[in-house]
């Protein structure tokens, strides 16, 4: 950000206001959901929706009471799928990228080429095939069915290889080996901390990818106690079509679910280093 200003230029109101309009467009739905979540279900349909009301707490209580706190179960499930999933994925990507960057072994080129082809395979296309396969072994409708398929991330491995090559000096690895350290120890205790800043980026990408992947849990899970928030709320909205009182629950649930993400996102903002090599998009 800190550019040296050669000469002070006068502010441009046109460019500043275009960006502010863009910002307003992006913040508007968030602002709306905060206001709408403060209304009870009759106010939602009868009052101007941008006027705040006083029922936010009541709505939270009502949402928490819905089927014995099912919503909070969904929140925990989401934390499990996205948190544990992204952590495991980061570790697997890190060790694979580290080996690719720091070891010379026969077949390395071929292994990496096959993995890179995986980058091109969109995750969503895989969801239905993964279902067919997990159905064969009777693993559908379990936590594993959502967690396991999302641990492998060819793109994460690709990034980790770049980070490992840049951040872990060969001398350090050699020195540790001469001291008699095992390879796994060298990786976990020496290389991993050195790669940490890059790994945060991989973690964030994977976290968002899992949290965004609606289709996989939607297909895999039948038991609503295993749902993540996204699938749960989409189901609630479905019921809302016949019972509009559900809308208040859906709106409150949507608000509560984006708060932790927005916080996480703002706190870790500096790790979003998205350069060309790091081009990924949410599906």
């Amino acid at each position: 950000m800190a550019k040296t200003r050669v000469f002070r230029q006068k502010p441009s109101y046109v460019s500043t206001s275009i960006l502010l309009i863009g910002a307003a467009y992006c913040l508007f739905p968030v602002f709306w959901v905060v206001m709408a979540a403060s209304k009870d279900s009759s106010e939602l349909f009868s009052t101007f929706t941008l006027m705040p009301s006083t029922h936010l707490w009541d709505n939270i209580v009502e949402l928490s009471a819905y089927r014995d706190g099912l919503y909070w179960r969904w929140v925990l499930n989401t934390a499990l799928y996205a948190g544990i999933g992204a952590l495991s994925s980061t570790w697997v990507s890190a060790i694979s990228g580290y080996v690719m960057a720091k070891f010379a072994f026969p077949g390395k080129g071929k292994v990496f080429a096959v993995l890179l082809m995986g980058v091109l395979v969109p995750g969503v296309i895989l969801a239905i095939p993964q279902y067919f396969l997990l159905a064969l072994v009777g693993l559908t409708n379990t936590y594993w069915s959502v967690l396991l398929p999302q641990i492998i991330s060819p793109y994460g491995i690709y990034l980790a290889r770049i980070y490992a090559a840049a951040a872990v000096p060969n001398d350090v690895i050699e020195a540790a080996r001469t001291e008699g350290a095992g390879e796994l120890y060298v990786f976990n205790r020496i290389a991993l901390p050195m790669m940490a800043p890059g790994l945060v980026t991989i973690f964030l990408f994977q976290f968002v990818a899992v949290w965004n992947n609606f289709m996989l849990p939607y297909i895999m899970l039948g038991n609503d106690a295993l749902y993540p928030v996204t699938v749960g709320l989409s189901g609630l909205l479905n019921q809302g079509a016949t019972a509009p009182a559900m809308y208040t629950l859906v709106i409150t649930g949507a608000l509560l679910s984006i708060i932790p993400l927005v916080v996480l996102f703002l706190v870790l903002q500096r790790y979003w280093k998205v350069d060309l090599a790091a081009g990924a998009v949410k599906a």
Partner: protein, 322 residues
């Protein structure tokens, strides 16, 4: 978890020179054991599903006798039947057409705005750019289902502040959820979720350009707009190409937004997008064989489009480089 413990090699440094370890264990076994978690997961959850789907796509289920009882259904080799059925299905053509139109609406607008925002962020005359950058990037943290929920309510005349205002003004604005407009409704949701991410990709590549180039142009009397057109945009073309490619791939797979919006409108069929069609065939109609064939067709089309796009763009933008 399928994490395989890589054994600690009992290699002692004093037995071998540190620089070149050439025995089998160190050269082959150790790297492959450390790669094992990645390779096993890749095979189980990427390669195997694709191969199994290919296998299914050439099968069909045949009902013998009255079709009752568990032994009455057998699967036989179907050749290309499923593919022919899938490609000649008018619903598939219709969903492909909708997704094409959706991409034509969404991608130019999204990338155009992302580029404009990135250039404005990079301009020194813009004020408050940190705030705007964060605000525009923020929707990336909101998953597609939640953003579809939020926008779905904003489209719903009963709860939307827009329709409240239109109503007060006495305007009769048709609902965006009506069948003629629902494609714009979905495009807007995707635009909201994607513009900030693409903006950051383009902005990051703008930041990587050394600023002396601009200073020189500035001293030569170039305006900001000229600098943007003549210098910045050509330099960041690779980033724009990549964002376009990823956006096209994402467009072909649209599923969450229309699926989430369905309860709010009658204008979205269960076969609105190709992936929704696959879902319906596999789970509502229990016809996993045609669903498998359609999946393969979608994957192939995705690859073909990515490949063609990169070829065309490489020829035009990168000239002789290749």
């Amino acid at each position: 978890m399928t994490v395989i413990e890589a054994p600690k090699p009992v290699v002692r440094a004093e037995y071998r020179p540190a620089a070149r370890r050439s025995n089998f264990r160190q050269r082959v076994l150790v790297p492959y054991l450390m790669l094992a978690p990645g390779i096993i997961l890749f095979v189980l959850f990427m390669a195997a599903p694709i191969i199994y789907t290919l296998f299914l796509s050439f099968q069909k289920s045949q009902v013998s006798g009255l079709g009752l009882g568990s032994g009455s259904r057998t699967t036989t080799f179907a050749g290309l039947d499923n593919y022919i059925a899938s490609l000649s299905n008018p619903e598939f053509a219709a969903s492909a057409g909708r997704v094409l139109l959706y991409g034509v609406i969404l991608i130019p607008v999204m990338l155009g705005l992302a580029l404009l925002f990135a250039l404005l962020l990079d301009s020194r005359r813009t004020r408050g750019s940190n705030f705007s950058r964060t605000a525009i990037f923020l929707p990336y943290a909101v998953p597609a289902v939640i953003s579809s929920l939020l926008w779905g309510f904003l489209y719903l005349p009963a709860v939307s502040p827009f329709y409240f205002v239109f109503d007060k003004l006495g305007w009769d604005v048709p609902s965006l959820l009506a069948s003629s407009a629902v494609i714009f409704a979905i495009s807007n949701i995707a635009l909201w979720g994607g513009v900030g991410f693409n903006m950051i990709v383009i902005y990051t590549s703008l930041k990587a350009v050394p600023t002396d180039i601009y200073e020189a142009a500035k001293l030569d009397g170039c305006s900001e707009v000229q600098i943007a057109w003549r210098i910045k945009i050509p330099i960041i073309t690779p980033a724009i190409v990549m964002t376009a490619l990823f956006s096209m791939v994402a467009t072909l797979q649209v599923f969450s937004e229309p699926t989430t919006l369905r309860p709010l409108t009658n204008s979205l069929s269960t076969s609105w997008s190709p992936l929704m069609l696959v879902y319906r065939d596999a789970f509502t109609r229990d016809d996993i064989y045609s669903a498998a064939a359609t999946s393969i067709v979608i994957a192939l089309v995705t690859f073909a489009i990515s490949f063609l796009f990169l070829r065309v763009v490489q020829k035009r933008a990168f000239g002789q480089e290749d």
